[in-house]
């Protein structure tokens, strides 16, 4: 009896050691496999040369009051609007409670440069380019931008007012290098 019990104990110890070894090997293999996958996935992220191109310098001296232009930043359109006093006024007067994505006009422009609105030209619904840069294009009920894909309408501050888009048009990171030069990114 004592012998049998002893043998069982030894077996059990053997089992445990084998389990430990097998589990560790399987775990290391699995972790190793995942580590091999990471470089593949990461290779799909922007490459170093793409990241290096992430700023655009633009000259805004040629944009007259009331004019809007499209510039390119990171391969996408950015709208620069030189707003009229009436447009600025309209943007400021809106009651925040009416807005789907409440933001004041002041928080979307640079202090002292309120005439210039710089926004990404990509509808926050599904990424179409809203119309309203050229005078011949529709600007929607709020005098800002109108997305032709699903009818989202933005005001003169680029804020969403009507239609399916959930958010205001994004303001990219930018700064005024001089009175006439803006660095986006």
């Amino acid at each position: 009896m004592a012998n049998t019990a002893h043998a069982h104990a030894a077996d059990a110890a053997g089992e445990t050691r084998r389990d430990f070894l097998l589990h560790t090997t399987v775990a290391m293999g699995a972790v190793g496999g995942v580590m091999m996958v990471w470089p593949l996935i990461h290779s799909m992220n922007p490459a170093a040369d793409t990241l290096a191109l992430s700023t655009s310098e633009i000259n805004i001296s040629g944009i007259g009051e009331g004019q809007r232009v499209t510039v390119v930043w990171r391969g996408k359109p950015v709208f620069v609007a030189h707003r009229t006093p009436a447009e600025i006024d309209a943007a400021r007067k809106v009651n925040l409670s009416e807005l789907r994505d409440p933001q004041t006009d002041d928080s979307r422009v640079k202090k002292g440069k309120e005439a210039f609105l710089v926004i990404e030209g990509s509808c926050t619904h599904l990424g179409c380019i809203p119309q309203g840069v050229k005078v011949t294009e529709p600007r929607g009920e709020f005098g800002g931008w109108f997305c032709p894909c699903h009818g989202s309408q933005y005001d003169t501050s680029g804020r969403i007012r009507k239609g399916p888009a959930p958010l205001n048009l994004h303001v990219p990171p930018y700064k005024f290098l001089t009175d006439t030069t803006v660095l986006i990114g």
Binding site: L22, L40, S43, N45, A48
Partner: protein
């Protein structure tokens, strides 16, 4: 009847009834696949080849995301991968060295089959599928080597596609068709990229057939005699674990090459962008083609050289009928064993010749080696089939195994 099955178990069984994926796997590479218990480590190279195929396909898919198959951009896009893409250097070196390691593994796998007579009845079709895989591998490797569009890419492509011009009457038309123009140029590069992406999946299909054909008679073994059910153990967990260990050792060697000698097997000239107006002084194919390249150059007639080169591979299809000796394993055929090693040494010598300039000693040795290659297959093997007396075979796999265990 009261034992409740869990909802997961029920869902699993529901699915298995409709598509028995897990039991199929279990029969293919699991507990229901019985394998002779006496396989040695030379039997690891089949699973290693599958591993390398997977490495090549996955690294290749991600390289293709950043590669541009255009003559003005291909070389630059490879440099872009090496310099700017996150981990691009790693993926590219794994792919370029992976080709060499894939071939090393497959060559050992083939030689193992030749040593232990794995091509003999009833495994002839299994052997055929293997040769087909090897042929498609050679095509894929050649196409892939062209893609970086270095000097050796360009001139290798020119030389190899020009082989087809040796075909009487239609040769030149075929070469023009392959090129899509009157020299290796952008259309050539574009179609090579397309085919290089396609053929690995053809290999995957052939691997399925290869493994299917393996399961019909079951695996051969170092003794070469038929295994009885008592001689077998399930593939899972025993051979899975053994293959995993082999894989561990293999990747260490592979990583040493990738991380410390990534360009040792490549030609420096391929870091010079392709120039259609300047041929490098010394055109050599990648090492894995060298024996066949030596055979090509050994015969001073364009058509016959090409025929000999392709014949050297195609002749392998009839190997099971050239070697008709009833004993499979070289362990019991002392004379065949000597000739087997001579054949291996001869192939290595041909490989060395293929890397030399075709003059003087290497040129002579190429001719001797080419002669011996065909003499071995066409004369030595058939004659040995008649005259060689084998050593006595054990009655079963268990017999010598159990005896040794006593």
């Amino acid at each position: 009847m009261s034992t409740e099955k869990s909802v997961w178990r029920k869902a699993f069984e529901w699915h298995e009834e409709r598509l028995p994926l897990v039991s199929w796997l279990d029969h293919s590479l699991g507990t229901k696949y019985p394998v002779p218990r006496n396989l040695n480590y030379w039997w690891n190279f089949g699973s290693l080849a599958m591993f390398m195929l997977a490495v090549m396909i996955f690294s290749g898919i991600f390289l293709a995301m950043n590669y541009t198959p255009h003559v003005t951009l291909a070389f630059d896009s490879v440099e872009h991968i090496m310099r700017d893409v996150n981990h691009g250097w790693l993926i590219r070196y794994m792919h370029s060295n992976g080709a060499s390691f894939f071939f090393i593994v497959v060559y050992i796998h083939i030689l193992r089959g030749m040593y232990y007579g794995s091509y003999k009845a009833p495994r002839e079709v299994l052997w055929w599928m293997g040769i087909l895989i090897y042929l498609v591998m050679m095509a894929t490797g050649f196409l892939g080597y062209v893609l970086p569009w270095g000097q050796m890419s360009f001139w290798g492509a020119t030389v190899i596609t020009s082989l087809f011009s040796a075909i009487p009457a239609v040769g030149d038309s075929i070469v023009t068709l392959l090129w899509g123009g009157f020299s290796v140029d952008n259309p050539t590069l574009n179609r090579f990229f397309s085919l290089h992406y396609l053929l690995p999946f053809v290999i995957v299909g052939l691997v399925f057939l290869h493994i299917w054909a393996l399961h019909v008679p079951g695996a051969n073994n170092p003794l070469g005699i038929d295994a009885t059910p008592a001689d077998k153990i399930p593939f899972f967990p025993y051979y899975v674990m053994k293959d995993v260990f082999g894989l561990g050792v293999f990747v260490v060697i592979y990583f040493i090459a990738v991380f410390w000698f990534p360009n040792a097997l490549g030609d420096p000239v391929n870091y010079v962008k392709a120039n259609p107006l300047v041929t490098p002084p010394h055109i050599v194919p990648e090492w894995y083609y060298l024996p066949f390249y030596a055979i090509l150059r050994a015969i001073p007639n364009k058509l016959l050289g090409v025929v000999a080169m392709f014949g050297a591979i195609l002749i392998m299809f009839v190997l099971p009928w050239l070697d008709r000796h009833p004993v499979r394993s070289a362990s019991f055929r002392p004379i065949y064993r000597v000739f087997f090693w001579l054949f291996v040494a001869n192939a290595l010598m041909l490989g060395w010749c293929g890397a030399q300039l075709p003059e003087g000693l290497p040129a002579t040795l190429s001719q001797v080696g080419t002669f011996w290659y065909f003499f071995h297959l066409l004369v030595v093997l058939p004659v040995l089939s008649w005259v060689e007396t084998p050593k006595p075979l054990p009655a079963s796999i268990s017999q010598p195994v159990l005896k040794a265990a006593e």
